[in-house]
């Protein structure tokens, strides 16, 4: 029997339930449960809820852009460009912006560690079959420095070595006298990205022909009306990406009252090629011949100032027909190009890093530099290029980048057992070609120390890892090179209290100098980096500046407030107008490593716009940022001309092997119409098997398979390796915008492990 519920009973029950709910609601805490957690130890100058902006210097590459960092409640929140800094004038690039992700990288080492795996054979195997491992135990800093100083003291004379991956002037100024005091060869600062931009070759040749000392040129696009760029990255890389892009913007924006005209010579269309008025897919290694041919036509036709130019003799023996057949640029086109270059008032020719990276690199760079001399657009206001001014004082000097031959010399010393202690700031194991044998050589060094912030590929080879501070936590300076229009020294200062128990490498070296004693202690008398810097910037006394340079105290205050020192007025160093260029320059045809029968394609590796040579790979922002030409991210691809791809039966997203005589990598095929059929291009940057969760296990490292060929001036000829492509019979969707494969969907396609 069911009991009927009357309307009245229903309403009563409803009221009861409602009341019960309301009463139970009253037991909820009526007070706000919001809490305030004041600091245990507050950051200096911090005011709750108020932003503080600190001026410092970017260290994401070697350019030395000025930054303003917004710090709120003691935490660095946002990186912006310093608008007063003459190099970047308030701008930053994507890599600069992502500096924060290195500060907050969850895989940063939080204290000094001893690597128990070294020498024990423990660990796993890297993609090239080499054993590695990290079995870290934390140690106290005092113990670490004691152990390292004992190792240095007991090393044989001169058997201490230092390898740096980035041009860091503040560090070099402390490491160089340290090694000198130990009677060891000078430190090696091999800036790998600089090497891809032809840093060493450019500085040497410009110094040799247009100045007195090696000096990096800055090419002023802003005051040029036609630019012939031979593989030079103008908007997507190079030695000083922000300054060059800014200059490019001014050229296009009509600073001269007209829109500048850009011709880009490169085998694979980069973003700079895409924004050019003409893209000329030239055969790599023939840029010098083309430059000479253009110059020869200018002289012969008397274009512009060419006929009376003192540089005319350089082009005397140029063979236009030969240049045309070698380069794939027709004679008619060369004549047209020469007329374009010669008929403008302010033409500029830029040698890019890919020109310097051939067996005939120095000759080709000379020919391109000579075009500037021929056009007569030098040595005056609006000069095609200016030179980086010499250092104000030896304590504030810039660092000369080491050549690749210096790296090989160091590796030889290591191989021969001549190095007892190796200190590494950087990641040579990842950056150098596999053939340089860095790993085998490092195994022969009894004691290796890494200063890496993250456990990267090189750090795990070390006995001790003494993690450096992040650049937003430490002191330093960068003598800007290439500098645009005046000498500049960018100031680096901590904007936040160090997050972890790390220590500045400069402080470690200064402590070592005191512990070792003798000549080292005398050469480096400063107890810490701040005292060193104060002594260094005091040398600016009496210099023209935006702040009072009367004495050390006013300089120190102004230096930190403004973010460095530079004169108020432009002070460009012009190149010589009568350069002592070689007469009747001839260019040896480029040679490429590998048998053309077996390896029919020429490999064109290029630094990724975002990841650079691989240092950017630990940032998820940079990983996710699409490549400007392919829109690809998170992986490594190989760009193949459709005609070549068709011949090999390759379609988009096929997984292929890129095989050189020195190794092979696996990459995804990207069928790219804007590349020569005889060239394949692969971006650098991926292929880490260590270096934190965002970097590891994505793509492959093309630097590993480069031929160990050097240019006549001792640089790595990274553009001279032949390869072949083999299909693997499977495909993997490249995460690119057209594929709708983003970071999440990429998991599905097996781009990520797990």
């Amino acid at each position: 029997m069911t009991k009927e519920i009357t309307r009245r009973q229903f309403l009563q029950l409803g009221a009861l339930t409602g009341t019960a709910v309301a009463v139970s609601g009253c037991t909820i805490n009526l007070q706000r449960s919001e809490t305030i957690e004041p600091y245990v130890i507050p950051p200096e100058e911090a005011l709750p809820g108020e932003n503080i902006w600190y001026a410092t210097t970017c260290r994401m590459c070697s350019a030395g852009c000025g930054l303003l960092v917004r710090v709120s409640n003691g935490r660095a929140k946002k990186i912006e460009g310093n608008p007063l800094h003459p190099l970047n004038a308030g701008k930053t690039c994507a890599r600069g912006q992502s500096g924060l992700q290195y500060l907050y990288n969850p895989d940063r080492l939080r204290n000094a560690v001893r690597n128990e795996a070294r020498g024990s054979g423990a660990g796993s195997t890297d993609p090239f079959g080499k054993r590695y491992g990290l079995k870290a135990t934390a140690i106290y800093w005092d113990e670490a420095i004691r152990e390292l100083s004992t190792r240095i003291s007991s090393a044989r004379p001169g058997a201490v070595a230092f390898y740096g991956s980035r041009i860091d002037d503040g560090l070099a100024a402390i490491v160089t006298p340290f090694l000198q005091a130990l009677a060891a060869p000078p430190p090696v600062f091999y800036d790998n990205e600089g090497a891809y931009a032809g840093r060493g070759t450019l500085a040497r040749l410009v110094g040799q022909y247009f100045g007195a000392e090696p000096a990096l040129p800055f090419f002023h696009l802003s005051t040029s009306d036609v630019v012939f760029s031979f593989g030079g990255p103008l908007v997507d890389g190079g030695l000083s990406m922000v300054a060059t892009s800014r200059s490019f913007g001014e050229m296009r924006g009509g600073r001269l009252g007209k829109r500048g005209y850009l011709v880009q010579f490169e085998p694979r269309m980069s973003a700079s090629g895409a924004v050019a008025d003409e893209w000329i897919p030239i055969m790599p290694g023939t840029e010098g011949q083309v430059a000479l041919a253009i110059g020869r036509i200018m002289v012969d036709e008397g274009l512009g100032l060419a006929a009376d130019s003192p540089a005319a003799g350089v082009f005397a023996s140029a063979d236009v027909a030969a240049a045309a057949s070698l380069s794939g640029v027709s004679e008619e086109r060369l004549v047209k190009l020469a007329r374009t270059f010669g008929s403008f008032d302010r033409p500029t020719a830029i040698p890019g890093g890919s020109v310097a990276a051939q067996s005939n690199g120095p000759q080709a760079v000379t020919a391109i530099l000579a075009l500037n001399a021929l056009a007569g657009h030098l040595g005056e206001a609006g000069s095609a290029f200016t030179l980086t001014p010499p250092a104000v004082d030896p304590l504030l000097a810039g660092t000369n980048a080491s050549a690749y031959s210096d790296v090989l010399a160091l590796i030889d010393r290591m191989q021969n057992g001549e190095v007892d202690v190796l200190m590494v700031q950087g990641n040579p194991r990842f950056e150098l070609p596999l053939n340089s044998n860095f790993v085998e050589a490092a195994a022969k060094v009894p004691f290796v120390v890494s200063f890496s912030s993250e456990p990267d590929e090189t750090a795990i080879l070390a006995n001790l890892i003494l993690p450096d501070h992040h650049f937003l936590e430490s002191w330093g300076y960068q003598s800007v090179a290439p500098a645009t229009d005046r000498p500049m020294i960018s100031a680096q200062q901590p904007v936040v209290t160090p997050l972890y128990d790390t220590r500045a490498t400069t402080d470690v070296i200064l402590a070592l100098a005191q512990a070792v004693g003798g000549a080292a202690a005398t050469a480096l008398p400063w107890p810490n980096t701040v005292d060193f810097l104060k002594a260094a910037v005091a040398k600016l006394a009496g210099q023209d500046a935006a702040f009072d340079t009367a004495n050390g105290d006013t300089i120190w205050a102004g230096w930190r407030q403004l973010g460095g020192w530079w004169p108020n007025a432009e002070a460009p160093v012009f190149p010589s107008t009568a350069p002592l260029l070689p007469p009747a320059l001839t260019i040896t045809p480029a040679t490429y490593d590998g048998n053309p029968e077996q390896y029919p394609l020429l490999l064109y590796p290029y630094p990724s716009v975002t990841l650079g040579d691989g240092r950017g790979a630990a940032s998820s922002w940079l990983q996710e940022a699409p490549d400007p030409m392919t829109t690809a991210s998170w992986d490594t691809w190989v760009e193949i001309n459709p005609e070549t791809a068709k011949g090999l039966g390759i379609v988009m997203d096929d997984v292929v092997k890129v095989i050189s005589p020195h190794g092979e990598i696996t990459a995804v095929a990207y069928v790219y119409p804007a590349i020569r059929p005889d060239v394949v291009a692969v971006p650098l940057g991926q292929g880490h098997f260590e270096y934190g969760r965002f970097a590891k296990d994505h793509g492959a490292n093309v630097a590993a398979i480069l031929a160990p060929v050097t240019t006549p001036d001792g640089e790595l000829a990274w553009g001279a390796t032949r390869v072949r492509i083999e299909k693997l019979g499977r495909s993997r969707k490249l995460p690119r915008i057209e594929n709708n494969v983003g970071v999440d969907a990429a998991n599905e396609y097996g781009v990520f492990p797990g």
């Binding site: 009526l30 706000r32 957690e37 004041p38 245990v40 507050p42 005011l47 809820g49 108020e50």
Partner: protein, 183 residues
């Protein structure tokens, strides 16, 4: 009269009685609710404003942001310890509370104070102009020197405007503008 009402209109009388009882319950609930809301909240650590002010600490010594920024702020633990490492309590019975503070310090653990005064997110309050206009702290926060725990005040819009309206004419117009606080 009430009796006659009950006799003549028993239903009306019951309705009125029920209404009165309901009113009473609502009033009691309201008082209970408000007393909870405006009571000094329970804090994780015994801290007495009265004793600190009597010992000579000024408001700005601990709430150092009030004259410089939007937020007055709470003192950092190392500021607490700056005194408590050197000063013994007047009443030895308070030592146990200070031991609790030292425990936080030893563990380098921030104290999770419960927020007392707060404004909704649509109100932009800034201490600095108020302190600069020489508004005394107790005008809004009461006589803290007589309180143990800070108690919350009903800082509603009427409260703000009652003071803003009294300002000299040349600034009162701006001070009663909506966008002064709601932007």
């Amino acid at each position: 009269m009430i009796l006659s009402l009950i006799r003549q209109h028993p239903r009306v009388a019951i309705a009125i009685a029920a209404a009165l009882v309901l009113l009473g319950v609502v009033a009691a609930g309201g008082i209970f609710f408000l007393s909870k809301v405006y009571a000094a909240p329970e804090q994780p650590l015994v801290y007495r404003h009265r004793q600190h002010i009597a010992a000579g600490a000024t408001c700005l010594y601990c709430h150092a942001g009030a004259d410089r920024g939007a937020v007055a702020g709470l003192p950092s633990l190392n500021k607490c310890m700056g005194c408590h490492l050197n000063v013994d309590p007047k009443d030895p019975a308070d030592q146990k509370d200070i031991d609790q503070l030292v425990k936080y310090w030893d563990e380098k653990h921030p104290i999770e104070w419960v927020k007392v005064n707060d404004q909704p997110d649509f109100v932009q309050f800034n201490h600095r102009p108020h302190v600069a206009a020489q508004v005394a702290c107790e005008t809004c926060h009461g006589n803290v020197s007589q309180m143990d725990y800070a108690t919350s005040y009903n800082h509603n819009m009427g409260w703000c405007l009652s003071c803003h309206r009294q300002q000299p004419a040349e600034i009162a117009t701006r001070l009663v503008d909506c966008a002064t606080c709601h932007y």
